[in-house]
Every structure is written in structure tokens, then in C-alpha cells.
């Protein structure tokens, strides 16, 4: 196995790459791409556009795993293509590259993220400061329980990998999804935020945290190793307590 992988890493080998072409309807087109050492899936897509077919559309920006814009479905799994080496995913010298699942396709590998970010808004994902107290800065102890809960989820860069990996989103298109719920959980644990109850109301119910079946695809696939599942469990506890107190 290791020998086969090593042989594939060498120059002169060719990759058979099927790439989704079209919009919501379309078909896979196959390209032969030379295999290079340390090649990423984004390198493969870039090679196709620059040398084989300039009409191919895809998105990327930073190329180093900071912006999250190059997320695509690689051999059926949502990944950041810039941080995914071909050696890791193309065991049989074949790659299948498609736009992210659960989002409308604009063209080829580009999907429309509008619905994804609209759900962040629906989940009250923006910071709402408590009414100006005119006092001092809020003191947040780094080792406090709330701050540690924020730390666990705050590094999300909104790439959409979790959203594309979530089966519940595909079954229930209204479902807010793991990223928006994770964002809401970080704000619920932010002592400087004043929209606690409104946010709990926004994330409760059939289209919110209670739709999650804890299948954990989001946690499995998150490139930042965040656990939206843990955030959603936190929201379930918080909303349940609020419901019992009649505050929801």
C-alpha cells in the first residue's frame, strides 16, 4: 500500500479527474492531469483551468487554509481542496470533484453560499452588545466555563464543509445547520452579548437545534476540528432549561 502510494507520487503518472460541469443540471467531464509531488486537489483544479479548459469555474483565495473559499466535494467528501493532498484521497489515481452538497450550484464547482449565511442571520449569529452600561470593559476569565465553550467553536471560518456534510440539511432544507448553530452557541456563551433569549428562540425547534440527530458528520469533517455537535448539544440543554422555566 505504501509502495503504491509512493509510486503514484512520482512524476510521469497521470490522474483521471472527473469534474462536475454545469449548474444544477450538468455532467461530469473527465480530464487527464499530470501527477506531481505534494500536489493538492486545488492544484489539480487549477491545472485543468489553466491548461486544459479555461471555462472551468471554481473558487479559491488564500490557498493556505485560512479563507475557506475552496471547499468542494472530493470523492464524495466535503474538504478544503487547498489542504487536501492528492496522495491522501486518490488511492486509485482517480478523483471526482464536485461542488459542495446542500447548496445551489452557480456553475461548475462554484455554489451559492447565500442560503448558508442567511441561516447565520436567522440563528441571530451577529453580536448584539448589552445595552451600553458606560462602565468598564467586561472581564472574561479565560478559564471560565463560558469562555472555554466559546473558544471551542470560535475558530469557524464559514467554509460550509459541515453544512455540506449534514444529512439533516439535505432532508430538512429549513434546518439552520451546524455552522449557524455553532455560531449561536459561541454568542450564547459570550457574557457581553445581550440577545440571549432571542437567540435561544431563534435556534429552538424543528428547524433549529432539535432537528439534529447527533450523526456527527459535521464534527468528523470540520477542517478546523470544531465540534458543532457539542455546540448543538449545548443549545439543546439551554433551550430545554428555558422551556422548563417558561422563558422560551
Amino acid at each position: 500500500m505504501a509502495t503504491a502510494a509512493k509510486a503514484m507520487d512520482g512524476p510521469g503518472q497521470m490522474l483521471e479527474v472527473s469534474v462536475w460541469r454545469g449548474g444544477e443540471t450538468g455532467a461530469y467531464r473527465t480530464y487527464a492531469v499530470p501527477r506531481l509531488p505534494s500536489q493538492t486537489v486545488l492544484d489539480v483544479v487549477t491545472h485543468i483551468q489553466r491548461h486544459l479548459d479555461p471555462t472551468l469555474s471554481y473558487r479559491f483565495a488564500c490557498r493556505v487554509g485560512m479563507c475557506g473559499s475552496c471547499a468542494m466535494s472530493v470523492n464524495g467528501v466535503a474538504r478544503w481542496t487547498c489542504r487536501t493532498t492528492v496522495a491522501k484521497v486518490a488511492a486509485g489515481r482517480r478523483l471526482e470533484i464536485a461542488p459542495l452538497h446542500n447548496l445551489p450550484v452557480v456553475k461548475d464547482l462554484v455554489c451559492d453560499m447565500t442560503v448558508f449565511f442567511d441561516k447565520w442571520k436567522r440563528a441571530r449569529g451577529s453580536f448584539s452588545p448589552v445595552a451600553a452600561s458606560g462602565g468598564d470593559f467586561a472581564v472574561v476569565r479565560p478559564d471560565s466555563r463560558a469562555r472555554r465553550a466559546v473558544d471551542a467553536g470560535i475558530e469557524c471560518i464559514g467554509c460550509g464543509v459541515c453544512y455540506a456534510s449534514c444529512d439533516i440539511v439535505s432532508w430538512l432544507p429549513d434546518y439552520l445547520g451546524p455552522a449557524a448553530l455553532n455560531r449561536a452557541w459561541t454568542l450564547i456563551n459570550d457574557v457581553r452579548d445581550g440577545a440571549f433569549r432571542d437567540r435561544l428562540r431563534a435556534v429552538a425547534g424543528d428547524a433549529g437545534c432539535h432537528a439534529c440527530h447527533t450523526q456527527m458528520s459535521c464534527t468528523e469533517r470540520c477542517p478546523k476540528h470544531i465540534s458543532p455537535t457539542a455546540a448543538i448539544a449545548g443549545l439543546k440543554r439551554a433551550t430545554a432549561l428555558a422551556a422548563l422555566r417558561g422563558e422560551l
Binding site: A204, G205, K236, A240, L248
Partner: protein, 112 residues
């Protein structure tokens, strides 16, 4: 249905799951105990007929099943049948009523 009501349904399902965990363990333990002594309808009825504690236990079991299963079916119907609103409510009420009716009838049959 409001988000608060949906949250209460979720809570009801979790609470009924806890009741079921207890009831299933007791039920299985009694089965194992009963089989060791030889299993017969007469022996079972001897234990349950006129016994308020057993009738109460199985009535609780039935109520927990009716709540747990109907809320679960609601989630399945939402996701897979895309039912909403009144149709969803009718289905859930129907499932709960059938389970409750059949279950309590069985409890009464071994008690009376």
C-alpha cells in the same frame, strides 16, 4: 406550532426515553425470572391479575411508549414525508392514540 412547543415535545421524548429505560430493564428482568420458573399464561396472570402495582407499572410503560414513539414518528414524518402543520399533528395524535388504546387495553386484559 411555536419553537417553545417543539422544544417541549423534544423534552417529552427525552423524559419518556428515561422512563422507558427503567421500564424495559424491569420488564426484561421479570421475563428472565419468570422463564426460569417455567412460563405459562396462568403463571403470568397469577402475577398480574388484581395487582395494582403491576397494572400501574405497565400503564406507565404504555404511556411512555405512546409519547416516545409518536414524537419520534413526528420527526420521521417531517424529514421523510415532508408533512407540516395540521397533517403532521393529525398523524402524531393518531399514532399516540392507537398505541395508548392498544397498550392500555392489554394492561386491562391482564389486570381484570
Amino acid at each position: 406550532m411555536t419553537a417553545a412547543a417543539q422544544t417541549r415535545l423534544w423534552l417529552a421524548q427525552r423524559a419518556s426515553a428515561a422512563v422507558l429505560a427503567f421500564c424495559v430493564v424491569v420488564h426484561l428482568a421479570v421475563i428472565i425470572y419468570a422463564v426460569r420458573g417455567g412460563l405459562s399464561a396462568a403463571e403470568i396472570l397469577a402475577r398480574t391479575q388484581g395487582s395494582l402495582p403491576w397494572a400501574g407499572f405497565y400503564a406507565l410503560f404504555v404511556v411512555a411508549v405512546a409519547v416516545h414513539a409518536s414524537v419520534g414518528v413526528r420527526a420521521v414524518a417531517l424529514e421523510w414525508l415532508h408533512l407540516r402543520g395540521r397533517a403532521l399533528g393529525v398523524l402524531v395524535a393518531l399514532v399516540a392514540a392507537v398505541l395508548l388504546g392498544l397498550g392500555l387495553r392489554a394492561v386491562w386484559a391482564v389486570y381484570a
